[in-house]
Amino acid sequence: MDFSYTIFILLIPITTFLLLGFFYNRIKPAVSGWIGVTALTIVAGLSYYTAIKYFFYTPKLEGKYQTLYGIKMNWMNFTDKLHIDMGILLDPISIMMLVVVSTISLMVHIYSRGYMDGDRGYTKFFAFLSLFTFAMMGLVVATNLFQIYIFWELVGVSSFLLIGYYYEKPSAVAAAKKAFIVTRFADLGFLIGILLMGYYGGSYDFGILNNPEGAAIMNWASSSFMGLSVITWALLLMFMGGAGKSAMFPLHIWLPDAMEGPTPVSALIHAATMVVAGVYLVARMFPMFYFVEDGYALHVVAWVGAISSLIAAIIALTQYDIKRVLAFSTMSQIGYMMLALGVSKFDGHEGLGYMASMWHLFTHAMFKALLFLGAGSIIHAIHSNFMQDMGGLRKYMPITHITFLIGALSISGFPLTAGFFSKDEILAAAFEHNKPIYFITLFVAGLTAFYMFRLYFSIFWGKKKEYEHTPHESPWSMKFPLMFLAFMSVAAGYISFSEMVTADRAIFHIHFDFVGAAIAVSVGLSGIALAWFFYKKPTDYPEKISTAFGRFYTWTFHKFYIDELYLFITRTIIFKYISGSFAWFDQNVVDGSMRGIGNKTVSFSKLIKGLQSGKLQDYAVAFAGGAFILVLIVLYVL
């Protein structure tokens, strides 16, 4: 099977970027929008074609999906063994990701034509979108750790550029910087992990590293550091990178702020695609995570996922900025995916968590993008991000309302929506392998339903506000993506994922567990009910409850002061004390000592000028004294 055409999946977006980037002030905005959409349509088409070709027409090897390379070339050599390749790796997860990324990206492109209409940097925006798409595509098809890292960084940069798109807004600038630096910090771990892995695993190539019979996995115990295998350390460090990108606790602080970017960007990058890169990374390296040191690293993944999802869900309860609620919800859902991977085993049905995670990734991309785009549509209409400014919008924006409702239902795990199926599998996997996590997950499911419907009711129901401009339904370019994604938010549940994306790449069949599903559904429904009770009409219950929780509420409202903690560490400790004292040290001590040597020489020179007293007899003393002292030295001292 020849997949070399897949190179175009990468080439088309980058070409678009260069085209739009270089001629950004010469191309008319309308044209650039069309260029972007057309390019993405082609890319999406290619992705679907590849998916179909791979899953249905490519023969399996011993019943397993095989790894194929669209293209693979040497990019740089470190040593004879260690080298960086550039290539396109095709296997179930990468193809799934291709589909996700291209679909969402296409939708966002279309949506942006309406949303960004009239913006000064319209062309630039599309250029950056293309850049992001290129980077993300490159990331998912990476053949080795370094390639993934390379595109990982590029994704980070395009995220930076897009968050800082409204660069004249100081908050946007700050958010962009924060996002970049926090993820960069996480990437530090990733990079060190890669380097360690390269050294101990002997390669960066996934094919070699992930081979369960390969040297990297078999010899994991050969060297250890502080009681853990170095390979485990490497995996943990790499997971740190993943956690940073995927906004896992405690590296999540950038994600809410990233909502300063244009909403389509939030939908594309900070909900559907880039933030799941961490999940994708763990999934990509899953054999290693699983086999090395009995999955020690995987436990960490599971617990980090669980804790993140819990914390995020709690924080989401108290937020008023709709995009931030969605952001915390994203974080919470990614926590789900992480924990699902974390509790997964490898073979067959044991690997349910893996499959569930990927499935949830897929469905989440659809419904979360939907929710964000919906939110964007609302913001577009009333020019505010805050729930307090909204209410009763269902009349003004019916399509948005319906699609948003579908998205909310899907994320809450309402039966027969996509979210229901994927989340159910996650719960099942957690139940099977890790009970504490299962209960957390269940609790979070309830919270999720509650805050989503808190959001939903506050926006579309509640009391009617007096709007300055009557809100309008959005144009078709925005409505179409909403509708398409709404459709997908339901339809994605009916794709048989277990026949496509599994841990060991063999097909298995899901046993649908009605009891488990019933529990989950009832939890979800009670959450919705509670929200209905609280927010359908304006009541004072929320306030009472928040007062009842007292300090806990304040803490939650302030996101547990994690931001403040980071600020304290960076701004006060690192910037002010460490960096400031270094700068001081350099100016005064290092430079000062160098200058001091010079000054001392000069002042010494001033000091001894009296020797040249102008008095002839003093000279004579020096002369005669010098001569006889020399005699003394050579004859009687030495």
């Binding site: 020489t601 002839l616 003093d618 020096a622 002369f623 005669a624 010098g626 020399l630």
Partner: protein, 485 residues
Amino acid sequence: MNISNFLVMRHEIILLVLILFMLVLEVFTTTKNKKKLINVAIGLFLIHTIIGFFPQETASLFGGSFKTYGLVHFFKNVLNFGVLIILLQSADWLRDKVAAYNKIPEFFILLFSSLLGMYFMISSGDFLMFYIGLELSTLPLIALIAYNSHDQRATEAGIKMILSAALASAISLFGISMLYATGGSLYFESIATSLHESNLAIFGMVLFFAGIGFKISLAPFHFWTADVYEGAPTQITSYLSVISKGAAVFILMIILFTVLPVLNETWKIVVYIVAIATMFTGNLFALRQQNMKRFLAYSSIAQAGFMLMGIINADELGISTVVFFVLIYIFSNLGAFGVVQAIINQTGKENMEDYKGLYRTNPMLSLVLLLALFSLAGIPPIAGFFGKFFLYTAAAQKGYFILVFIAVVNVTISLYYYLLPVRAMFLETSENPIPYFKSKNMMRAGLLLTVVGVLILGLYSPLYGYIVELSKNIINPDLLTYLAK
């Protein structure tokens, strides 16, 4: 005694004839015509210089009192060349200033006598000739220092010089008497073979060293230098700083290497200590000088310290590097002094302050000074660098790496103050800079020669190769083998 012997002594004889000729001219020219003597004298000296370049045999005359061989011959030519440049540079001064005092021919007589003294000194084969040569080179020079008899500073300089010089030669003589006592002769060759290491010999050697160290202005025998350089007419200062110093270094080296090799263990220690003291003294004092002449005086002290690094080598390499360095040093220092002179003649200003913004008004002069200072500082590809580098090599060859290290520390210090005039000229600007002026042709020729010298001498390697050839076999190989036992 025959004609060929005289040919061997032709430097001396022609110069003597020149002196006498000037004396005659002095008597027979009227006051008005004396200005013309300047050109005559310079022209005659040019001829003398050219004749000097004809090859010459190795010879030893007057029972060994007078010796000449390739290197000495070469060195005399170098001195001639230096003096020629000095004469070219002084022409203006003579014409504009000295003519007023009616002292022109005397200037040449005294200067040539001093040069003649140098010849005899570096050709000397015994201590007597050495002493007489030394005095002959010094006394007329002192007269020249105090030449400007209405200038109090010049007179002060003269007094300081003559009293210091007298003290130095007295101490030196005391030392020579001890060498005479221990070596049994005044002749260098006999001393070299019959001298044995003894405290008395070392005593004598150190006192002798102090006496000649005075001429070279080595610390702590250098104190007269700055004051005299400042007070003397600039032309004489440059003569003092290059010709007088160069000749003294040369003969010190020859005596230490060929007459006193027995004491080499000791005099190396002396040279080592004195070299370090000299470098530091020169550099540290030069740091804060404002007067250009004093500044160059200390700089020349520091340079003398570097020359000792070649001497400490005590071998052929040392000879060749020192001679090479002195040659380059003559050109560099004359370049610097030439510019200082030109400015003093024109404006009477000799402070570094006055040099501010000089580049904007007198770019050529500034560039000459820049090159000269860079050469003194030892910055490639200007000749001074090669001279210094070879001196380091000479010291390092015998393992004196610490000395080399101290030297490079000093080079860095020296770079600082050599850059100060550069800074004044190029970097800074002034309210009233020295206005543009056109130098006379003689001065230009003098400066041009130095510029060509500092640019070419280092890069043109055959020159150094020639010096190396000349330096061979000066140290008696038999003596060395004898000493090795």
